[in-house]
Structure formats: C-alpha cells, structure tokens
Amino acid sequence: MPAEAFHEWLRQEGRIVIVGASLAGLRAAETLRAEGFAGSLTMIGDEPHEPYDRPPLSKAVLLGKASPDHTELPRRRDIDATWRLGVAAAGLDMAARRVRLADGEEVPYDRLLIATGVHSRPWPKEEEAQLDGVFVLRTRDDAVRLHRRMKGPPRRVLVIGAGFTGSEIASACRDQGIAVTVAERADAPLVGALGGVIGAVAAELHRENGVDLRTGIMVTGLEGDTTGRVRVAHLSDGSSVETDVVVVSLGASRNTGWLAGSGLGAGPRGIACDAGCRAFDFRGIVTDDIYVAGDVARSPHPLFGYQFLSLEHWGNAVAQAEVAAHNMISAGADRRPHMWVPAFWSSQFGVNIKSVGVPSMGEEVMITQGSLTERRFVGVYGYQGRVIAAVSFDNTRWLEFYQRLIETGAPFPVEFPTVDRRPEGRKPVPADFPDPSLPTHGPTVTLSGYSPADRQLVFTPARH
C-alpha cells in the first residue's frame, strides 16, 4: 500500500494502543481524536485510577488543600477508548505487533505509544524499605498513605533526598508544623538540578522555615521497633534521627522492565527515540510503528548538542505526547519534531520556582534580575558562550524571554541592562554543579518560528 493510502487507512480503521494511562497517554489519546483518528483506541494502565495529575500530590495534597482522590486530569475531549485499567503491560512482540498483558491477554496494534513513565527509586535495602512508616511518593495511592500518616501527626518526618519532590515534602511538613529532617548527600538542596549557587538559596529557605537540614551526608540505615515500625535513621556522620515517617525521595527509574527481551531499545535510562518520538530498537534502528512520550522517553535535543535527554517534566510529557500522536497518524512530510524547550516548575516554602532549558548543563550562572538575598530573582546559565538555561524564584513571568534567548543561542554572559534596579552581581560566577559532564564542542543550532508547524532549526557551523 502506498504510504498515503496506508495513513488514510490507519486514520480510519487502524488500531492504536497506548501503554501508560497517565498524563502523556491521555494527552496523546486526545490529540489523536482531535486530529481525526477514527480507528480503535486502547488505553492500558497498571494503576486502577483514571488519569490523574501528579504535581499536586507533593503540594496541595500533602497540605490537605486537595484530596488525593480529586486530582483527575481535566479532559480536553472525549476519547472514546477501550480502557484496560489496573492491568500492566507485561511484554511486547514487535514482530507480531502485540502487547501482552499481565493477565495473559494480548492486544494487537498497528501503532503503539509507550508512555509508562517512571517509578520512585525505593530505599535500596529491601528489609528496611518494608518497615511501616517508610514511604515513596509517586502515585495517588502513595499520596493517600502518606497523607493519612501525616495527619497523625508524626513526631518527626525524615526526608531522604533534597531534590524537588523531597523539598516540596519538607515544605508541606513545615507548613503544618510537623518537625522534619532532610538528609541530602550534596552540599545543598536542588544542587543536582540547579547547582550550588542556587542550592545555597534553597538551603536558606529550608533552614529559615525550620527544617533540620543535614547536607553532605548519607542515610546509612533505617531501624524499626519490635512491631516493625520505623524508629530511627542512622547517618553517615555517626549521628541518628528519631523518626516515625521516612519519605524516600531518591529520584526515579524508568518503567521499561516489561520490555526486556522485546528487542526495543529500552533500558534503565528510558527508551531512546528520534526527534519524531519514534522508538529505536536495540540495534539503533528506528521503528515506525512504536512511539514513546513523557518521562519514559529519551530524545535527542538539537539545542543541547543532540544529547539524549530524559526529562521528568509535566510540560514535556504533554508536548511530546502531542507530537507523538500527530506523527503516529501522519505521513513523512507532515511529521513534526519534538523540540520542546525543557521547562519545570515547583513550589516550596511559599516560593514559586521555575526553570527553562537545561540548567545542569550550565557552567556559569549570573543573576540578571532581582536578588539572591531577597529570593526573588532570575538566574541565567551559560554554556560555552551561550545561554543554555534560566531559573526564576518568584519571577515566573519573565521566563518566556529567557526561553527565547535559549532558543536563539543568545550570547552569555548577558550584557544588556534590565528594568530591574538591583543588578546584583551582574557578572557570571561558576554555577557549581557537583559533577559537570561537559559535552564536546560543536556547531550551534538554534530554533526559530513559533507554531509547531513552522518551527525551524537554524544550523550554524562551528567557527574556528
């Protein structure tokens, strides 16, 4: 069948299966229908719930301002799908184009979208992880359990890991007057994501809000009482913390286990795909019937040296799902690349944090607006003479401008004055990431155009 006729048939009568019935899965399904897909659609999700939103789980839900049962994702349109909830996909037969479910059933597809996301890395010592009072926070069910225990209230909560989620949990505890200790291996919270300069501001936020913040330290073991409830945590400096609730926030692992042996290029770092969201097989050959989107995907980004980025960003999941869905039912020339500029937000201790670009690639950072001491600022990250990222604390509304600087490869340091009359520093300082992994020098690629349809890459060869 010629490509065009095939796509016409696919749009009318094809079978599309989406594995992972959460944010990316739902938005992809809606896009498919919005773009006229009339065939059959099957949504497979291992959680028993309809798609819900995760960001509130570590914010409004823990604060008791929203019920974990009321975080359903708003629906953009009716998707007329067959829902298979509460059953995991357990295997994939790429040749026969079938997804095998945990209950033994098989679902055939013409196009498959994998949007299985990530799961929280559990406490590595299994027996200790089983102790009553030890939690992770990824799902609604996790949130229900943790929230119930927080209402106790606990005498002290221990958060292991001061990334975004860990910091938000600590913030929620303090907001409710619960004593909390945060243990972080790096020298400050958020260091992995934003570097030491901004991390120092985050550390102040924690301490000023009464968090017992322990940095440069590791939790070496958890100990329970005779009834199996967690009682005390031991730290690498020989100290210990008495606690009755431990939240393990050590980051996430990709949900790719079910693809073992399938021949797809899937591993612990995610599923590699091309800029059009088509998955690679393990030989590095691109498939044309299997697509990936959301936290589970790793895709090359031209703005960032074509590095394969895996992002755990809400906005990325939505944008990538839309591109994947569009491409699944479009013939070659109509396809679009996923060129979303990474953006992430968080709110903690009453501060709105937002970043664009990839701060962790930054070598240097400079404060262009506001001031670190007021904790209202915009910080710009530079990488090899260009703007690579920006972060704002309580200054979100400027970020679009900085996104444009990133997209167009604007020079760093930023030379121009701004309307802000607190030009604190206004000179770059080392961003202070613990382990900078610097990609090699290369040509410059920038983005132009606004709408998804006319976004263009502009390629500038390396100068000598």
Binding site: T368, Q369, G370, R397, F416, P417, T418, V419, D420, Y450
Partner: protein, 412 residues
C-alpha cells in the same frame, strides 16, 4: 512627540468605529517607525508577547520622562507617586504583591468567586431599572453603572460619590489617549495631574476612616498594609487606590459594550447564549481577542537597544504595543477577523501579559460574563438602533459612548 501618517490615522477619531483595516495595514510593517521622535509601533502577536516579557522594556514613568515623552505621572508634578502600572521591579513587584494579597490567590483565592451573588444582584437591579422602555442606552443605563457599582463596593467607596470622582476620572483617562496627548497644552496636562491629586485626596479621607474602623473592603486592606512593617507608604496606598478605582471600571464598560455590540452583530451567538449562559465564558474570551477594551499600550520604553525583525529600537525610544492588532494577527490566529467563540485556542493579548498582566482580569471576566448572559436572557428581541454607534474619543480605551438598543420588552 509627533506621529507619522499611519499612527495618526489610528488615533484619528474618524477611524474609531473600525480601526481593524488600519491595524492590518500596520502589521505589514511589524515594527513601524514613521517619525524621528515618534514611537516604534509593534503590531504582530509574537513580537508584542515577546516585548511584554522583555526585561529591557520599561513601564517606569521616569524612563519615559527621560525619553522626553511623558508628563502623566511624574511624582513632583502631582504629589502622588506613580501607581504600580507605571513602575518597574522591584517597586512594582512589592506594590502589586501587597495589593494582590487582598484580592487574589494565594491569600484571597475566593474573593472574586464569593462576589458572584452580589454581582448578580447588581445586574438584576440595573436591568429591572430599564422598566418597560422600548429603547435603552446600554452604556449609560448598564455598562457604566455596573462596574462602577462593583468597584465602589469592592474598594469601599460610597456609590453616591460617583458624580464627584467622575469629574476627576475623566481628565485622567483622557490623558491616556495619545491623540489628546499630542495636542496637549500645558493646561491640559496640569488639569489631569490636578485631577489625580484631587482623587487621591478624596480617597485619603476614606483610607483614614478605614484605618480607624476597618471593614471588609480593599481600602481597609490597603490601609492596613501601611502598617508597622512599613510595606506601603501612605502615598503609595493612595496611588494604588486611584489606580484600582479607575482601572476597575474604565475598561469593563468597554468590554461589556463591545460585547453586546458584537453579539447584536452576530445574533446566532446571542441566541446560543440565551440557551446556554455557560457559553459566556468562551464569548468573553473571544471578545477580549476580537474587540479588546485596551487597544494599545503606549507607555513602554526600552532601557537597552532591542533588535526586532531587523529593526533596532534604540535605548530610550518609546514603544507602542498594538494589542488589538496582535489579536488579529493571522500568523497567530486562523481567520482572525472572524468572531468565533468556538475557537479552540484563544490566547489573546486582551489583558496584556508578563508582570503587568491585568490585575483585575478575574473580576472583569466575571462581570462581563454575568452581564452578557443576563442581557441575552432578559432582552426580548434586542436590535441595534444605529450601527456603528458613536464612539468615545479615546483610542487606547476604545468603546462606544452610547449603545442604543431597541427591545420588544424586558423579560423578568
């Protein structure tokens, strides 16, 4: 300051009823600079959006004065410091944050929502007031008194004082208009500054009262914010109150009037709105795109050279952000000249964007939604008596001065 021929035509009253063909012409030169000391008019959607988020673009009155162009709110001249709409960070952020703490989330997330019943009551009262008239001037009998009553209640300003503050508001608003500003003689400027001061003094009396006996209104909250921690000076309280009072009604009048005019020109939506009041949400969003009450922002200047579409806007130059032109930019909206509340994607510039995004947007939306839904429900067979209606002079805050509507009856 002088404006070249195209900008002059845009400010020219003769083109007030339908400036959109001119905006289309304008967009052909997305960064238009006609006269050496004239403004740079920016008219395409993405450029405007970009500049609204550009930290090189200042709203600060003193920068404008430096650029030799603005006489409106110099602190020495009026005695009242500029309101936050005319300030940059950090002052802007501080004042707006304090004002917001009694108006919106996170502190008062329900302030607007909780007013719905009250707003509905005012709407009903005004429409009941039409009696069995067969012809109504929608502006004088409804679109003006409604938001005035609301902002008075919200601030805690006695409604009976409206005729008094009206005499001060008019010259202040007139001074926003580039056309008037161009013809301006010193007397005119002085009159507007004087008026602002008078209004400030009038409000000072109320603020003083509220300091002693706080009530549940914004003036009381503002008065309290001038507290022990010294977060707002008394002068800042007053200029904020002046701003809220004026901005709180001068724009909503036009939103409602433009809305009714547009619905009468597109009766299918008027009918649909009657059947389904919930449609008012989409209708109002599309109105903010299609007939925005604030047509342009003429008060920005840049603090550094800005390159835009091959043009360098030099440091110190004045920029006009042509919101209404951007809202009908075909690069951004499919079929932009069509009024289409069913469009999926209406991210308009009607309220601006960036740190100065309309402070009262949630209230203005709610007011317009309620007003239009109720008018659609209660007016029996409404018809325009004259089309186009007579417009107000102002090119910035554009809207009909009168909107005469014939009806068969007013339903109960």
């Amino acid at each position: 300051m002088t404006n070249g021929p195209l900008l002059q035509r845009i400010t020219d009253y003769a083109n007030r009823a339908d400036p959109y063909p001119l905006y289309e012409e304008l967009r052909r030169t997305p960064v238009l600079h006609e006269e050496e000391d004239g403004p740079y008019a920016v008219s395409s959607y993405y450029d405007i959006l970009g500049l609204l988020h550009d930290p090189r673009v200042s709203s600060d009155a003193t920068n404008l004065i430096a650029a030799g162009a603005d006489e409106l709110s110099g602190p020495e001249a009026t005695g009242l410091p500029p309101s936050f709409i005319r300030l940059d960070p950090p002052e802007h952020d501080r004042l707006r944050r304090i004002a917001n703490s009694s108006f919106g989330p996170p502190h008062r997330p329900d302030r607007i929502d909780s007013m719905s019943g009250e707003l509905g009551g005012i709407v009903t009262e005004l429409i009941d007031g039409f009696g069995d008239a067969r012809q109504i001037d929608l502006v004088d009998q409804f679109a003006y008194p409604f938001p005035v009553t609301v902002i008075c209640r919200l601030l805690g300003v006695p409604r009976e004082d409206e005729p008094r503050f009206r005499t001060w508001v008019d010259p202040i608003v007139a001074a926003l208009d580039p056309e008037t500003r161009q013809r301006t003689d010193d007397d005119f400027q002085r009159a507007s500054q004087e008026a602002r001061m008078q209004l400030g003094m009038y409000l000072a009396g109320l603020v003083e009262q509220r300091t002693k006996e706080p009530r549940d209104d914004l003036l009381s909250d503002l008065a309290a914010s001038h507290g022990t921690d010294g977060t707002m000076s008394m002068m800042e309280v007053l200029s904020t109150a002046v701003l809220l009072l004026i901005a709180g009604h001068e724009t909503t009048v036009n939103l409602i009037t433009n809305g009714m005019l547009t619905l009468l020109r597109h009766p299918e939506y008027l009918h649909r709105l009657r059947e389904d009041p919930g449609l008012s949400v989409r209708i109002v969003e599309e109105l903010l795109r299609y007939e925005p009450p604030v047509q342009l922002v003429p008060q920005r200047t840049c603090v550094a050279d800005i390159d835009l579409r091959g043009v360098t806007i030099p440091k110190g130059a004045r920029i006009w952000l042509m919101l209404a032109a951007g809202n009908r930019d075909p690069e951004r909206f499919a079929d932009p000249d069509r009024f289409d509340p069913d469009r999926e994607d209406i991210e308009h510039l009607g309220f601006g964007s960036g740190i100065h995004i309309c402070f009262g947007a949630p209230l203005a939306r709610r007011e317009a939604q309620l007003a239009l839904a109720e008018l659609a429900r209660r007016l029996d067979n409404p018809r325009l008596v004259e089309d186009p209606p007579p417009y107000r002079r102002n090119a910035v805050l554009r809207g009909p001065r009168h909107l005469n509507i014939a009806v068969n009856s007013v339903r109960s």
